[in-house]
Amino acid sequence: MMYKKPTAVSWPIWKFVLLVLLLQAIFTFLAWLDRSFFNNALPTVVDILAGSGVSLFALWQRWVWKRFNGVRLRLLVWIGNVFVSFYLSGLLLVGAMRKWSFLAGEPWSWFVNGALLIAFVGMWLLPLFSFTSAKRIHKFQWKISGFAVGLSGTAGILGALFGMFSSRHGEKGAVIFVLGILLSLLSIGFAQHAGYESWINRPYAKENANAKS
């Protein structure tokens, strides 16, 4: 069976280095903005690590591609994919949790963030326990995407207008509230999508399915 070359491997090295530098620049810029927003040094480290995580993933794919082949290669590439999906969804979750911590305060933020964490882990592990439910939720995600297409052109503009006018009128709380909702939805949705995709693309999945049928 032909195995598709990962993007991180098929790209020339200059393109790869450019991408890594660009990602680092974006995440460092976000870290700088984030720090001025929340006045907290810890997220800066997390944001800079975010760029490093994606770079690490790409390096892993290249390293694995040169040294392994066959089933081992498929397994190691799959591990890399799961790692980067988990990493990115985790970053979204951390973003959402920080927004709710800011809004809800010490006792209540534990409940909200606890529920978010349980939903996040549950969505990642759902295919293991009930593949049918995971498939149904994944289909639902695509169904609601039909409605979202109508907003695709204007989402960025509406977001920018909301951000600008909130800043102008000193409504920092409103921005954090909306970002909290959007990031919570994104982290849970992405966790479900990545968990489902990782499960159906796991090594031996097709062989097992054929053997059973």
Binding site: F147, A148, T154, A160, F190
Partner: protein, 102 residues
């Protein structure tokens, strides 16, 4: 029998006078500050929207559900828009184009 109807005197003003007395026109239509402010806000928001879509487009793959891409674009747009205004970029642009910033 009603009294004899008398013609009422009606003042007719030239259009320039009418326009100069129109409050709505003076506040909005002929107000350069309003137009510069509106145009700058609109242009900045469109530019930010395009930039947000470009940033999200780098990370979105064909298998990602579209609603996530739309929500992520909105998140990035809110973030960039908030910080642009916090650093008074639209205000500086308005001053640059001749509209007095609020």
């Amino acid at each position: 029998m009603p009294k004899k109807m008398r013609m009422q005197r009606v003042d007719v003003y030239p259009s320039s006078v009418v326009l100069s007395r129109c409050v709505l026109c003076n506040r909005i239509v002929k107000n350069r500050e309003f137009w510069v402010s509106t145009a700058v806000d609109f242009a900045v928001s469109v530019a930010v929207g395009v930039a947000a879509a470009a940033v999200v487009g780098m990370f979105v793959t064909a298998t990602t559900p579209l609603w996530m891409a739309v929500a992520a674009t909105a998140v990035v747009g809110i973030g960039i828009g908030y910080f642009l205004d916090a650093f008074e970029i639209p205000k500086q642009l308005k001053q640059l184009f001749g509209g007095e910033a609020k």
